[in-house]
Structures are given as structure tokens and as C-alpha cells.
Assembly symmetry: C2
Homo-oligomer: 231 residues x 2
């Protein structure tokens, strides 16, 4: 499998990074140049978000460190951008349950053996950020978005390559390796929809957790809710 192109850490402007160099790759080993990856990002995410570009390299870095052929799950420590890099380059998605988000607010992703829990973590290295002023300005919100130079930011991400990241071997907490089973469904007496019986006598949506504005003061709904609560 082709490894990622190693770049220098020079901060000067002349590229020196050939435009046909491999920037990242997917789990099948399919390599992408920087431009090719930007196209995929645009198609999936709607726009070229810097975090998703950085994320692509981080995910590819992580995959390079895993034993070949391993079946892995992914964990993102932020819900911003990074999960989409995982979904673009790996088989792990939010909907198939192989990607989870633990909202710690750190820009880090881990990939690990889905049964044993052993794997790698790739994170932005705070000590290396200073060498890339446009990346630092964006990541640390040092200047308003209108003053950021989007093209210069992208080129720094491209040229930084692996220089921006720290990696570590990790092992997941055992409880995170266990798939939650929803068990049997039952019909909610208020909305008449199926929901996991283990949630209780009413579905969560009819128990004040609804994301919708509803006729909560409807007397009939109040009556059913009260009866169910006393059951």
C-alpha cells in the first residue's frame, strides 16, 4: 500500500510540494491528490471546510498506523468536520454505528480494532501549530473569518502534511466496544409510533424530549400522559 507523501516543515511560500503528490487515501488504499480530495469534500460536505481537509490527512495517517486488514471502528472527539473525513475515507458512518462522536472538543480521531479496542489516535499538535500561521489563525480563531486567507490556509494544510499532528497508541474503554441493543419495540399510547420499550411507558418524544413545538396543552394528551406516568 502506498504511504503518504512526507513533506518538509518549511513555512516559506514556494510550494515544493508536487501537485500530483498523494495527500490522503481511503480504507481500500485508493490514493487522492490534494485537489482530488477537495473535490470529494465539496461533494459530500457542501463546501471545502479546512477542518475536513486536515481531517482527511489525519484519518489517512491513522490508517497507515493500523495493522493491514484490521476491521476498525472510529471515534471522533469533536462533532465538527472531523466525522465527515471519517465517513468519506472509511466504512465507518454515523448510521452504521461504526463511528461514534465523544464531544470532548479536541480535534482528534481514533481508529481501533472493533473487538479488541486497540488502535491509534491522531490529534492536532498544539506545539507544531505555531509554525503554520494561517492554520493557527483559523484553528484558534485569531482573526475574523473575513480576514483569513482561505487559499493560503489550504496551501499550508497541504504543505504541512503530517507535521501538524501527534499520534499515539490507544486502547478503548471496554464499555465503548459493546454495541447497545435497543431490544423490543412497543407502541406509544400518545403518538401511536413504535419506540424502544425500555424507554418506559411513553416514548421520549411524548415525554417532553420532543424537538418539535407541539400542542403540549392538549387536554387529551395531558390525560394520556398522566395515566401513563401513574401506570
Amino acid at each position: 500500500m502506498q504511504r503518504l507523501h512526507q513533506t518538509d516543515t518549511d513555512t516559506g511560500d514556494p510550494p515544493g510540494y508536487p501537485s500530483n503528490a498523494i495527500f490522503c487515501r481511503d480504507h481500500k488504499g485508493q490514493p487522492f491528490t490534494f485537489e482530488a480530495y477537495l473535490e470529494i469534500v465539496r461533494a459530500f460536505h457542501g463546501h471545502v471546510a479546512p477542518g475536513l481537509v486536515i481531517g482527511g490527512r489525519m484519518v489517512a495517517c491513522g490508517m497507515d498506523m493500523l495493522p493491514p486488514g484490521i476491521i476498525f471502528d472510529a471515534c471522533c472527539e469533536t462533532g465538527n468536520c472531523l466525522p465527515d473525513a471519517v465517513q468519506i475515507l472509511t466504512p465507518c458512518t454515523i448510521g452504521n454505528g461504526w463511528l461514534r462522536i465523544v464531544p470532548l472538543g479536541r480535534f482528534a480521531v481514533s481508529l481501533f480494532d472493533k473487538h479488541e479496542g486497540e488502535g491509534v489516535r491522531v490529534a492536532i499538535d498544539s506545539r507544531r501549530l505555531a509554525a503554520w500561521d494561517e492554520i493557527a489563525a483559523w484553528f484558534l480563531k485569531l482573526k475574523p473569518r473575513a480576514e483569513q486567507n482561505a487559499e493560503r490556509l489550504l496551501q499550508q494544510i497541504r504543505r504541512a502534511g503530517d507535521d501538524l499532528y501527534r499520534t499515539a497508541r490507544i486502547r478503548m474503554q471496554p464499555e465503548l466496544l459493546v454495541k447497545e441493543h435497543l431490544g423490543r419495540n412497543r407502541i406509544c399510547p400518545i403518538c401511536q409510533e413504535y419506540y424502544p420499550a425500555k424507554h418506559g411507558a411513553l416514548c421520549r418524544g411524548c415525554r417532553d424530549e420532543s424537538p418539535y413545538l407541539e400542542a403540549r396543552d392538549d387536554p387529551e394528551v395531558r390525560r394520556v400522559r398522566k395515566t401513563a406516568a401513574n401506570a
Copy 2:
């Protein structure tokens, strides 16, 4: 824009549903036959999950009910399968923040004007499920997976079309329309990584919320953690 093919609710086996009929479409109006959609599902999700097939039709149903040209966000009431249908057919993804998951355990998705909060909700209709025995067996886990007939299940989903769903106009809770801003970052004194300053003196990962098994009893980490907690 081409509307979805309306199917009959007949439960007999002869298809009567032409294989070139449109099963669902994406937000740009690009139509997909059932087979074409299955191919996309396989590529993104790894396998043809029945919930994701059903979800594709639900999302397309919802989009048909929105005013043309509306910029919408999405909300899934379950994290299982359905979010991937949203990510495949709309610009809303977990990483760009236009898709959120509210874990109510109901198989329902809503699409709504991202500013005003008005939109539609599409859910499995519990009363109509009985007419489709293989779908009911899968959805309600009435028989072990080994006894389910995967091909018959898929064909029932295809033939059911819109007959399986209930739809409603909804309006989102105003607090769900407000984007959470993470604000300034600071460096965590333990892991030396950036995290949202508003999380407190230590990042959540160093405050017992880490998904990783770590040397929690390291005396130096204990000392820093104690100092930070008293700060």
C-alpha cells in the same frame, strides 16, 4: 422536479412495480431507481441495511413536501441507519452540523427551514406496518435474523413506496435552531491539546470523560488534575 412513483398497497408477490421506476431522489432532484439507490447505499454504508433503504424513500418523501429552493436542516430521531439516508441524499451531514440526531428511538426524520424551523416529519406508520409482513418481522424483530428473507424484505420496501409512512408538518423548538458556538480554545495543562475554554480548567478528556484506557493513576497527572480542580 420529478415526483416519486406512487405504488399500490397490494401485498401479493407479483411486482407490478416497474424496475425503472423512481424509488427516491437527492436534493438536486437526481432520481434513483431502487437498484441504483441500493448501489449507493452499499458504497456508503458498507452493506444494504433495510433501515437505510426505507430511509431513502422517507427522506425523498420529506423533500417532496418542502417548498422548492428551501435551505433545510435535518433531524433524525434515531441514530440507526436513518442518518446515513440523510447524508446520502441531502447536503446535511453530521460533520457540517446540518444534521442532528435526537435519540428518541422513533424511526422518523424531519427536514425544516434552517432559519424559521418550519418543515415536515416522516415516520414509520405503525398502523400500516401490518400490511407488509416481512417489513414488520424485521422492524419489530419478530423472528431471528437468520429466518428473515432479505430479498423479500427489500422487495416489500420497494413495493410499499409511500404506503409505509405518515407525514406531518412540524415546527422545531427555537433552541434547536441556534448554532452552538465553541468560543475560544485554550491548552489543557495535562494533555497539552487545545479544547474549548468554556469546558473549564481541564479538557473533558483529562477529566474522566476519556474514551481511552489511560494511566489515570500516574502521580504527575493526579497532581496537575488536583491543582487545576482547586484553581
